[in-house]
C-alpha cells in the first residue's frame, strides 16, 4: 500500500469539499471534448444516445410489423416489405441495441465507479470501440433502410448466400464490424475488473453488477470471434463463391447454424446477464438489504456464462442435427435452470424483511423478475425435445425470447436508467410520471406478448406475413398491446429528456444506496473520485447504518 493510501485511510483527514473540480459533464464544453473524450462516463453517454436512437428505429419497425399483422391476408405491406421490416427490427434490436445496451452504457459508466478506479484500463480503446460501433451500425442501418435485407437476423445459409436478392453483404459487413466493438469493450472490462480495483476491493466485495459484467465480457471475448468468422464465411460465399456451406457442392448449411449459435445463444446471456446485475442492485437498494446469498449469485453469473456455451444446439432440434446431439443439448439446457433459479429465488429472499420503497426503478425490477421467470420457464418448455418439435419456429418462440429480451433486458435497462439517472446527469426524474410509465410498459408488454404464447401453441409459424384467419383475434390483441407498449416508452423518453434541464438537482446518493458509485458526487468529477477510495467492508453493507454511504 502506498503512503498516499495510508493517509487516505486515516478517518481524521478532513473531506475535501472546497475547490471541488467541475463534474465530468461540465469539465469541458466543446463538441470536440465529447467526440474525442477518453472519459468512460462521456463515452457511456455517447453510447446511450446512439443506442436510444437505434432503439427508436427498431421499435418503429416492430410497430409496422404489428400493424401489418392486424389483418390475416397481409394487405398492408407487400410480402417483401414485411420481410424487410422484421429483418430490420431483428437486426437493429439484437445487434445494435440489446447487445451493447447495458454493458456499453451502464457498464462503461459504472464499472470504474463501482470498483473505485479512475477510468477503464484502456480509455482510448474504449473510445475506439464506440467509433467502431457507430461505423458498423450506421452502415448496416443505412443499408437496411435504403436497400433492405430479407434474411432475418439469423442469416441462415443457403438463403442468405445464394437465394436472397437483397443487400445481404453490406448488412453483414456492418454486423461484423460491430462485433469488433463488442470484443474491445469486453476486453477492456476484463482487464479493468482484474487490474483496476481500488485498495480493499476484493472479488467478493464487488457488486453483483460488476460480476455479471465480468461474465458478459468473457462471452464477448469467447463468442464474438466465432460469429465474426461465420458471417465472414457467408460474405465470402455470397460475394466470391468461396465458401463451405453451399449444399450444391456437398457443403452443410447446418454447419453455419452451429457456428452461428455458438455465439448467438451466449449472446442471449450478453443481453440477460447485465440485466440481472442491474436488477440485483435495484432490489438491494430499494429493500435496503444485503443481497441474499451474495456468493451464490456471484458464482451463478459466471456459471451462466459458462453453461450458456454448452447449449446452443437447442436451436437445432429439428434442423437435421443428430438425435444424440439434440438429447445432449436438451439436457444441458435444463442445467441453465440451476443458476437462473438461484438468481430469482435469491432476489425474492432479498426482498423478504427489507425496507421496501416502490420507486420507479424498483417497479421495473419487480416487473423484470416476473417477466424473466415467465420467459425462463417457457425456455425450459422449448428445451424439452418433444415440445420443441411442436413449438420450434412458432410464435411461442417469439413470445419466449421477447419475455427474456424485452421483459428482461429492456425493463432492467429502464430500471437501471432511472436508478442511475441522477448519477449520470445530476438531475432527478419526476417520480410520478416514472411510475405511470413503468405500469404502462408492463401492461403493454404483457398484452402484446402473452397472446403470442397461445398463437405459437396453436401453431402459427413465425416470420409469417399472412396467416390463417383463425389467428386474427389473438394477433389483433397483440397489436393492440403493442400500442400501449409504445405509449409507455414515450413516457421515459419524454420526462428524462425534460429532466435534463428542469429536473431537481440530485444529491450524491438519492436512494441511500450502498456502493462506491454513490460515494462520489452526482455527476462525478472527471476522474471519478477526489481521492482513491479504500474498501474495508462487505458489499451491500445496508446493515451498517453508521457508515454514511458506501
Amino acid at each position: 500500500m502506498s503512503p498516499l493510501d495510508t493517509v487516505l485511510r486515516d478517518p481524521d483527514t478532513p473531506r475535501i469539499t472546497l475547490d471541488r473540480p467541475a463534474d465530468y459533464l461540465h469539465a469541458q464544453h466543446t463538441l470536440r471534448s465529447w467526440f474525442f473524450t477518453t472519459d468512460h462516463k462521456r463515452i457511456a453517454l455517447l453510447y446511450l444516445a446512439s443506442i436510444t436512437g437505434f432503439f427508436i428505429l427498431g421499435a418503429c419497425a416492430a410497430g409496422l410489423v404489428r400493424l401489418s399483422l392486424v389483418v390475416p391476408n397481409g394487405q398492408i405491406f407487400s410480402n417483401d416489405t414485411y420481410n424487410k421490416l422484421f429483418t430490420m427490427h431483428g437486426v437493429i434490436m439484437i445487434w445494435f441495441f440489446l447487445i451493447p445496451s447495458i454493458p456499453a452504457t451502464f457498464g462503461n459508466f459504472l464499472i470504474p465507479l463501482m470498483i473505485g478506479a479512475k477510468d477503464l484500463a484502456f480509455p482510448r480503446l474504449n473510445l475506439l470501440s464506440w467509433y467502431v460501433f457507430m461505423l458498423g451500425s450506421l452502415f448496416t442501418i443505412v443499408v437496411l433502410i435504403v436497400g433492405g435485407v430479407d434474411t432475418g437476423w439469423t442469416f441462415y445459409a443457403p438463403f442468405s448466400t445464394t437465394y436472397s436478392n437483397t443487400y445481404v453483404i453490406p448488412a453483414l459487413v456492418g454486423v461484423i464490424i460491430v462485433g469488433f466493438s463488442s470484443i474491445l469493450t469486453g476486453l477492456n472490462f476484463v482487464v479493468t475488473i482484474h487490474k483496476m480495483r481500488c485498495p480493499g476491493m476484493t472479488w467478493f466485495r464487488m457488486p453483483i453488477f460488476v460480476w455479471t459484467h465480468y461474465a458478459v465480457s468473457l462471452i464477448f471475448l469467447l463468442g464474438t470471434p466465432v460469429i465474426t468468422l461465420a458471417l465472414m464465411l457467408l460474405v465470402m460465399e455470397r460475394a466470391f463463391h468461396i465458401g463451405v456451406f453451399d449444399p450444391r457442392l456437398g457443403g452443410d448449411p447446418v454447419l453455419f447454424e452451429h457456428l452461428f449459435w455458438f455465439y448467438s445463444h451466449p449472446a442471449v446471456y450478453i443481453m440477460v446477464l447485465p440485466g440481472m446485475g442491474v436488477v440485483t442492485e435495484l432490489v438491494a437498494a430499494f429493500s435496503q438489504k444485503r443481497v441474499f446469498g451474495y456468493k451464490f449469485v456471484a458464482y451463478a453469473s459466471i456459471g451462466l456464462a459458462s453453461i450458456t456455451f454448452l447449449v446452443w444446439g437447442h436451436h437445432m432440434f429439428v434442423n437435421g442435427q443428430s438425435q444424440l446431439a439434440s438429447t445432449v443439448f436438451s439436457f444441458l439446457s435444463f442445467a441453465v435452470a440451476v443458476p437462473s433459479a438461484v438468481k430469482v429465488y435469491n432476489w425474492t429472499a432479498t426482498i423478504h424483511k427489507g425496507t421496501i420503497r416502490l420507486d420507479t426503478p424498483m417497479l421495473y425490477a419487480m416487473g423484470y423478475i416476473g417477466l424473466f421467470v415467465l420467459g425462463g420457464v417457457t425456455g425450459l418448455f422449448l428445451a424439452t425435445l418433444a415440445v420443441d418439435a411442436h413449438l420450434h419456429d412458432t410464435y411461442f418462440v417469439v413470445a419466449h425470447f421477447h419475455y427474456i429480451m424485452v421483459g428482461g433486458t429492456m425493463l432492467a435497462f429502464l430500471g437501471g436508467l432511472h436508478y442511475w439517472w441522477p448519477k449520470f446527469t445530476g438531475r432527478m426524474y419526476p417520480e410520478a410520471w416514472g411510475r405511470v410509465g413503468a405500469f404502462l410498459i408492463f401492461i403493454g408488454f404483457n398484452v402484446t406478448f402473452f397472446p403470442q404464447f397461445i398463437l405459437g401453441y396453436l401453431g402459427m409459424p413465425r416470420r409469417y406475413h399472412s396467416y390463417p384467419p383463425e389467428f386474427q383475434l389473438l394477433n389483433v390483441l397483440s397489436s393492440a398491446g403493442s400500442t400501449i407498449l409504445a405509449v409507455g416508452y414515450f413516457f421515459p423518453l419524454g420526462y428524462l429528456i425534460w429532466s435534463l434541464w428542469f429536473g431537481k438537482k440530485a444529491p450524491a446518493n438519492p436512494w441511500q444506496a450502498k456502493g462506491l458509485e454513490w460515494t462520489t458526487s452526482s455527476p462525478p468529477p472527471a476522474h471519478n473520485f477526489l481521492r482513491t477510495p479504500v474498501v474495508d467492508y462487505q458489499p451491500y453493507d445496508y446493515a451498517n447504518k453508521t457508515r454514511d454511504n458506501g
Binding site: K118, A121, F122, P123, V244, D246
Partner: protein, 221 residues
C-alpha cells in the same frame, strides 16, 4: 569484433493517468493482449472446425485437395515463421537489456522474415493459379472439377491462409511502425513494454500458422 560493451539504456515505463502503479499498468497491458489473443484463437478455431467437419463428411475430397497443395512451400514457410519467432524473442530480450540498436535490428529482421513468408505465400498462390486450383475464378477451369466437394476444402484453404496473411500484413505494418517509434532515444525508458506486448502478438501469429500448416497440408494427406 571490437571489444566494447553495448551501452545499456534505462528501461522503464511511463505511468498513464488511469493507473496507480507501473506494475498494474504493465500487467493490464499484458492481460489485455492475452484477452485479444484468445479472440484470435477462437476466430481461427472456427476455420479449423470447418476443416475437420469437411474431413469427416468428405474424406476423399479433402485428401485429394491436400495432395495438390504445395507441401514444401508450406513447410519452408513454417521454418521462416519459426525463425521470425526467434528474432522476435531476441528483440524482447534486448529491449529488456536496454540494447536499443540490437533490438531495432532484431525487429527489422522479424519484419523481413514476415515479408519473406508473404512473398513465398504469394508465389504459392501464383502456382495454385497456374495449376487451375482456383475454382472461384469464373473464366478459368478447375483442375479437380470432377470432385465437387473438393472445392469446399480448397475454399477453407484460401480463407484460412488469406486470413492468416491479413494478420501477417497487419503485424508487419505495426512492427514497422513500432520500429520507427522505438528508434527514438527515449522509447525504452517510456514504452519498453510495448515490445513485449507486440512480441506476444507476433508469437501468436506464428502459433496459428503452426496449427494451420498441419491442418491444411499434413494431417489429411
Amino acid at each position: 569484433m571490437a571489444d566494447i560493451g553495448i551501452a545499456a539504456e534505462p528501461v522503464d515505463l511511463e505511468l498513464a493517468e488511469q493507473f496507480t502503479t507501473k506494475a498494474q499498468q504493465r500487467e493490464a497491458a499484458t492481460l489485455g493482449m492475452w484477452a485479444w489473443l484468445v479472440t484470435e484463437l477462437l476466430l481461427f478455431a472456427g476455420l479449423f472446425l470447418c476443416a475437420l467437419i469437411l474431413r469427416i463428411q468428405h474424406p476423399q475430397s479433402v485428401t485429394l485437395v491436400t495432395t495438390h497443395l504445395k507441401f514444401w512451400i508450406g513447410a519452408t514457410n513454417t521454418v521462416v515463421l519459426i525463425c521470425s519467432s526467434l528474432t522476435m524473442s531476441a528483440a524482447i530480450v534486448t529491449s529488456r537489456l536496454g540494447w536499443r540498436r540490437f533490438m531495432l535490428g532484431a525487429l527489422l529482421a522479424t519484419a523481413s522474415l514476415g515479408s519473406l513468408f508473404l512473398l513465398l505465400k504469394g508465389f504459392e498462390y501464383y502456382q495454385d493459379y497456374d495449376e487451375h486450383m482456383m475454382p472461384f475464378l469464373a473464366d478459368r477451369s478447375y483442375v479437380l472439377a470432377h470432385d465437387q466437394a473438393s472445392v469446399l476444402f480448397l475454399d477453407v484453404y484460401y480463407i484460412t491462409t488469406g486470413l492468416h496473411g491479413v494478420h501477417l500484413i497487419t503485424g508487419i505494418s505495426i512492427l514497422l511502425w513500432l520500429t520507427w517509434k522505438a528508434s527514438r532515444p527515449a522509447f525504452l525508458q517510456t514504452h519498453q513494454n510495448r515490445i513485449e506486448i507486440y512480441g506476444l502478438y507476433w508469437h501468436f501469429i506464428d502459433l496459428i500458422w503452426i496449427i494451420v500448416f498441419p491442418v491444411l497440408y499434413v494431417l489429411n494427406r
